[in-house]
């Protein structure tokens, strides 16, 4: 506990981390707020349409008679959900494949890495467009889209984890662990996982922002999840599709854009700060500057 506190204090010395943390905190509380929404996220004409921001509707209302603020809370929740599903599942696959391939080596390594390389060289956007067109009904659901995105993002990190395990495997404490009677699975989880955890953490953040970006791209093209379910992507797509600017409803269009920008900046800075913190070389540099 004391350790995690001092870690947090160390991280907040970097102003980028503080800003990113505050933004994320705001976004997460928005997502939590969606549970208390007075409106249904998908139903239309619940409020007067096209009203500018006011006290009753902090971010105005859109042309479909929905309150933009409460739509945003659902959008943030859903986008984060997709990101978390995609990144956590791809992380689990990456850990299993990376560790299995790295520790076992040989034929298993070659099979797993070939599979990984194959998904890596596929043009992801084209395949995602194809798949979400063909499996339109299936890809409408948030978790399914998350799964689809997870399938395309595990390979890079599996390679990173594998290379770490390859170097850990040759270190003496591996032999000592074997001599202490540990079985392979236990050895990998107890001895190696703490070493690869930092890498997993920083790639997790990157993967989350990639998944959100991919969702927005797909939604913009009118693919991916059900357009009436609010996400940052579908909000943007609906606003553009319904000619928000032409109707002079700028708050309708700007809300998802600005939220998206803030989300990306927050995740980017977070990943930069975390990987800088975990990389001893840049850590020394920072100490030297101070």
């Amino acid at each position: 506990m004391r350790k995690s506190k001092s870690l947090f204090r160390d991280l907040t010395k970097d102003s980028r981390f503080t800003i990113a943390f505050v933004i994320l905190l705001v976004l997460v509380s928005l997502a939590i707020l969606s549970c208390f929404s007075p409106y249904h996220p998908q139903r239309m004409y619940q409020v007067p349409r096209g009203r500018p921001p006011s006290w009753t509707h902090p971010l105005g209302t859109n042309w479909l008679g929905q309150d933009v603020f409460w739509q945003l809370t659902f959008a943030v929740k859903n986008s984060l959900l997709i990101a978390i599903v995609a990144s956590s599942i791809s992380r689990v696959i990456a850990i299993l494949v990376g560790m299995g391939a790295g520790y076992r080596g040989g034929v298993i390594d070659r099979i797993l890495m070939t599979a990984g390389d194959t998904t890596m060289v596929l043009p992801i956007l084209v395949v995602l467009i194809l798949v979400s067109t063909i499996l339109r009904e299936w890809a409408r659901y948030l978790t399914n889209l998350g799964l689809l995105l997870a399938f395309f993002s595990w390979a890079w990190d599996a390679r990173v984890i594998r290379s770490q395990i390859l170097s850990l495997r040759e270190r003496e404490f591996t032999f000592v662990a074997v001599l202490s009677g540990m079985r392979t699975i236990k050895l990998v989880l107890k001895q190696y996982l703490p070493h690869v955890l930092p890498v997993i953490l920083s790639t997790l953040i990157n993967n989350m922002s990639w998944a959100i970006g991919m969702e927005i791209t797909l939604a913009y093209l009118g693919l991916g999840i059900d357009p009436t379910v609010p996400t940052i992507g579908t909000m943007l797509q609906t606003a553009i599709y319904r000619q928000a600017l032409f109707l002079r409803l700028w708050w309708w269009l700007l809300t998802p854009i600005i939220t998206g920008i803030f989300l990306f900046i927050a995740l980017y800075w977070l990943s930069v700060v975390v990987s800088e913190y975990l990389d001893p070389r840049t850590r020394f540099q920072r100490i030297g500057i101070r």
Partner: protein
């Protein structure tokens, strides 16, 4: 009849026997694949309650031999018998094998996972081998083993490897190896990374373990001084071959193989009048020597013969010492 009994007695005495052990590594470049034997036809045995030293310069195959014995590497040829059963049979009972054969490695800072506490691996060892279950009993056992090496449970509990000194870690690593009550301890350069004052206490500890616990130790080292102090029998390795093997006094007292003579002469003496003569030739290409035909020492040997460059010398028995040199052949 008498002869047979004697042979049987010798057989009885072998805790572990290594027969014609060979390990071939291949180096791949873009077009070629060169094979070389890191360990070539190595045979030796260790008796119960005996310290057997495997000495030689770095890169001579000592560590590879140890790794093969411990099962971390697969041998290319040859067989190992532990308690008269071939190692392939022990592969299926790996846990039982490792309970009897434990190891201590060279670098104490590398022997412990830097991200886990030192006591963690002790508890793992006890629980994985099902030596004790009750937490108090386990702590007692660990404390007992740590006391044997001059540490205590309190000193290591909750500490990370970075918080302990190299000497403490190396002793802790020996204590861990002793938890399972092994009969054979493979020690791969256990004292080369600790400072001189601790070196003696660790070496004394090994001697104690041999005398009190009847532990056999395979002591791998490049340091002839500690080997001389400690061991019962010694084998000198050079480029994958054992060039000379026998009782300690014979091998180091009257070295027969020119390489052993060279090794012994290169031990510095604490005498300002005796200076190193500048005639020790360090061969620059290790691989070239490994790939040599005939005796691998031929290019550096002061008494080289024409025969040495063509034929691989056989082992000859001279005064109870096995020597792999053409000088002693008829």
């Amino acid at each position: 009849m008498v002869m047979e009994v004697m042979i049987e007695e010798i057989e009885m005495e072998k805790l572990i026997e290594i027969k014609d052990l060979t390990k071939i590594f291949s180096i791949r470049t873009l077009f070629f694949k060169t094979k070389f034997a890191a360990v070539e036809k190595v045979s030796f045995y260790i008796k119960p309650a005996e310290i057997f030293t495997l000495a030689g310069e770095s890169g001579c195959g000592k560590t590879t031999t140890a790794k093969i014995i411990l099962g971390f590497e697969e041998q290319s040829e040859g067989e190992i018998f532990f308690e008269k059963k071939p190692i392939s049979l022990w592969k299926r009972k790996r846990i039982q094998f490792l309970q009897k054969v434990q190891a201590v490695f060279q670098n104490p800072f590398e022997s412990f996972n830097p991200l886990r506490t030192v006591d963690d691996i002790f508890f793992e060892t006890v629980y994985n081998y099902r030596i004790a279950k009750d937490r108090n009993r386990v702590t007692e056992l660990i404390d007992d083993r740590l006391k044997a090496v001059g540490l205590s449970f309190q000193e290591i509990y909750g500490r990370y490897p970075g918080e302990l000194s190299g000497g403490q870690l190396q002793r802790a690593s020996i204590a861990r190896a002793l938890i399972t009550n092994p009969t054979l301890l493979v020690t791969d350069e256990p004292v080369s990374m600790v400072d001189a004052s601790l070196r003696m206490s660790i070496v004394n500890l090994f001697a104690q373990l041999r005398d009190r616990m009847k532990l056999s130790i395979l002591y791998i080292t490049h340091d002839l001084a500690t080997a001389y102090y400690l061991s019962n029998r010694i084998a000198i390795m050079f480029r994958g071959n054992i060039v000379e093997m026998g009782p300690l006094e014979e091998v180091l007292g009257k070295p027969k193989h020119p390489y052993t003579q060279l090794l012994r002469d290169s031990i510095p003496e604490a005498d300002p009048r005796k200076k190193w003569k500048g005639e020790i030739a360090i061969f620059d290409s290790e691989y070239e020597e490994y790939l040599r035909q005939g005796c691998k020492f031929a290019k550096r040997c002061p008494v080289v013969m024409e025969k040495c460059k063509k034929e691989i010398p056989q082992e000859f028995l001279v005064n109870g010492v096995l020597v792999r040199c053409h000088q002693y052949g008829e």
